[in-house]
Symmetry: C2
Subunit: 325 residues, 2 copies
C-alpha cells in the first residue's frame, strides 16, 4: 500500500480510536460501491461486537437511523466522489457528529470534502491491487478491527494484501479459458442469476445489479444461498443459468447445498469455487478475505468475456450519465 | 387481537424488559418469513437506538454474529414451525442466552419448542387480520418498542391494528379491477421486477422471491428504489415490467424518482401508491405501518389475478416439499 493511503487510513483509525465508544458502524453508498462495502458489514458482524449496517445512501438520508450520533462511524464510498446521495449522507453523518470516513478515487471531489477522513484509492491498469478500492477498503477494515477488536491476525491480514496483484494475475490466468467457454455458451441467455453467501454476497449483488443489468442489459437477480431453497429455487430449469460463488468460509455449506441441488436441475450452473484459487502462499487467517477479493477479479473476467461475445461494450449506457434523473 | 396472542406477546415483552440491556435485536428466518420480519428491522432502526439486523437463518447458524449473547433478542418466524434452519438458529440463540421469541402458526412445532417465548398467529379465511402473521408481528414490535423506546404512539398503533380486517377488505375491493386488468396485460411476460424502499422493502422482496419465482415460475428480481439508478435502471425498456410500491413514509421521494423515470421508458410500470389507500379513519402515527401491511394485501390480489390468468395455481411446486434438498 502506498504511504499516502497508509497515512490517510492511519488518521481515520486514530479518530475512531479516540472516541469513547463506538455504538454502530454504518456503511453507506450506492450500487457497486454499496456492494463493495457489504464486506465491511460482514467483517464487523463476525469479527467484532460492534453492530454494523449497510445502507443505500438515499434511505440513510431520508430515513436516518435513530442511533446515528457522535459515537457512530460512517464509512461511505463513491468512485467519482460525486454521487449526490452519498455526498448528502456523508454530510448528514458529519453534522450528527459521527466519524466520517470516505473512500474515493478522486481527491477534492464533493465526497472528499464532505468526509472528515477521506481515503484515496488508485484505479487503472498499472497500479497495485492493494491500492485499488477493495485493497484499500480491507486495509481500512483490518486497521479498524486492530483497534476495535484487537487480534494479532489483523496485522497478518494487512500484510497479505500486498500479494493481491500477483494473486489476481494468477487467478486471471487460471480462469481465462473457462471464462471464454462460459461466455460463448451463455451469450444468448436472456437472464442470468447470481448466488452467494457470507462475505461474498456483495460480489454477487454487484454482479447482478451492475455487471449484468447495468453494463450488459442482461436480466438478473441476486439470490442469497441461504434463501435459494425458500422460494427462488422453483425457477430452476434445465435452461436457466446461475452463477454461484462457492465460499471457502463458514457459509460454504449453504453454497454447497445450492450446488448439489442445482446441478441436478439446470445444465447452466457456473460454480466459482474459492477452494480452487491458488492460495498456498497466503496466511490461513487471511485466506477467506483474499478469496473474496479474488472472486471479484474472476467474475470480472467472465463478464468481460460475455461482453465481448455479445458485442456489447461494458462502457455502453443508455440512461446513466446520458440525461438527468 | 385474541387474548391468547396478547398474553404470549406480554410474556415475551416482559422477558425483554427484565434484561439489564439489549445490545442487538436479530430477526432470523427464511424466505417469506424473513421478508415479513424485515419490517421489524426497519422499525427498530428508525424508532429506537437499539441496533437490529435481519439474517437468513442458515447464515446466522453457520456464521453467527459475535455480538449474540444474553443481552440479545432473537425474533424468528416460520409458518409451519418446522423450517430446519430457523429451528436451528433459534436453538443456537437460546444456548447463547438470548431472549428467543418465535412466531408460528403451529403450537408445539419444533420452532415452538425451540424458542423460550413462542407467539402464535392465526391463518385462514375467517380470522381477524390483526391475529394473522403481520398483525401479530406488528403487535409484538409495537409492544417491544413501548418498553425499549417508550412513546405514547405505540399504544395508538397497537389499537389501530384492530382495524386491519376492515381495511384489508376495503383495499381488496378498491383494487379488484386493477388487479384483473394488470394480470391480463402481464400474463405472458417472462420477467417482472419489483421495487420498493423503507418499510416496504420486505414486501417487494417476498413478491419477487416467493410470489413470482416460487409460486408462478416467473423470473424476477427485487430492486431497492435507492439502488435503481445505480445499475438496475439500465435494464428498463418499453416492454420490461416493474411493480413499484410507492411509500407514504419518509422514503417516498426515492420511489417517486423511480416512478418519474420509469414512466418515460417502460409501458409496463405498475405503481401501487400507498397514498391511494383509504386510511382516513386511521390515526396519523399508525398510517405508514398499516399501509405497509395493506400493500401486502394488495400485492396478493395482483398475484392471485396473474395466477388465474396463467392457469398456474399458487399451490403448485415442482421441488419444494416434493423431494429432499
Amino acid at each position: 500500500m502506498r504511504d499516502l493511503h497508509e497515512n490517510q487510513i492511519k488518521k481515520a483509525v486514530e479518530a475512531v480510536a479516540n472516541r469513547k465508544e463506538v455504538n454502530e458502524v454504518y456503511f453507506v453508498a450506492c450500487g457497486g460501491s454499496q456492494a463493495v462495502l457489504m464486506a465491511g458489514q460482514y467483517l464487523f458482524d463476525k469479527e467484532s461486537t460492534i453492530p454494523s449496517h449497510v445502507y443505500t445512501a438515499n434511505e440513510f438520508v431520508y430515513d436516518t437511523p435513530k442511533n446515528l450520533n457522535e459515537n457512530s462511524v460512517v464509512i461511505s464510498c463513491s468512485h467519482s466522489g460525486n454521487t449526490p446521495e452519498t455526498v448528502e449522507a456523508t454530510k448528514l453523518a458529519r453534522e450528527k457528529g459521527a466519524v466520517t470516513i470516505c473512500l474515493s478515487n478522486l481527491e477534492g471531489s464533493p465526497l472528499w470534502e464532505a468526509a472528515e477522513y477521506p481515503v484515496h484509492y488508485d484505479w487503472g491498469k498499472d497500479v497495485s491491487d492493494s491500492d485499488k478500492n477493495k485493497g484499500i477498503l480491507y486495509g481500512l477494515l483490518f486497521s479498524l478491527l486492530n483497534v476495535l477488536a484487537p487480534n494479532p491476525k489483523w496485522d497478518v491480514c494487512l500484510k497479505e494484501l500486498e500479494k493481491l496483484t500477483e494473486l489476481s494475475n494468477a487467478a486471471k490466468e487460471q480462469y481465462a479459458q473457462d471464462a471464454k467457454n462460459w461466455a460463448k455458451a451463455q451469450k444468448r441467455d436472456p437472464i442470468i442469476y447470481t448466488i452467494g453467501s457470507g462475505i461474498n454476497y456483495g460480489e454477487v449483488y454487484s454482479t447482478a445489479m451492475c455487471w449484468f443489468m447495468e453494463m450488459q442489459w442482461i436480466n438478473s437477480g441476486c439470490i442469497h444461498s441461504g434463501e435459494y431453497f425458500h422460494g427462488p429455487f422453483e425457477i430452476t430449469d434445465y435452461d436457466v443459468p446461475f452463477m454461484l460463488v462457492k465460499s471457502m468460509g463458514n457459509t460454504r455449506h449453504l453454497d454447497q447445498r445450492v450446488e448439489d441441488f442445482a446441478t441436478k436441475f439446470t445444465d447452466k450452473l457456473l460454480v466459482l469455487d474459492q477452494n480452487d484459487l491458488q492460495l498456498d502462499g497466503v496466511a490461513p487467517e487471511a485466506k477467506q478475505y483474499i478469496a473474496a477479493i479474488l472472486s471479484g477479479v474472476v467474475i470480472r473476467l467472465f463478464v468481460e468475456a460475455i461482453a465481448f461475445e455479445r458485442g456489447h461494450s461494458l462502457d455502453v449506457r443508455r440512461y446513466m450519465w446520458q440525461m438527468s434523473y
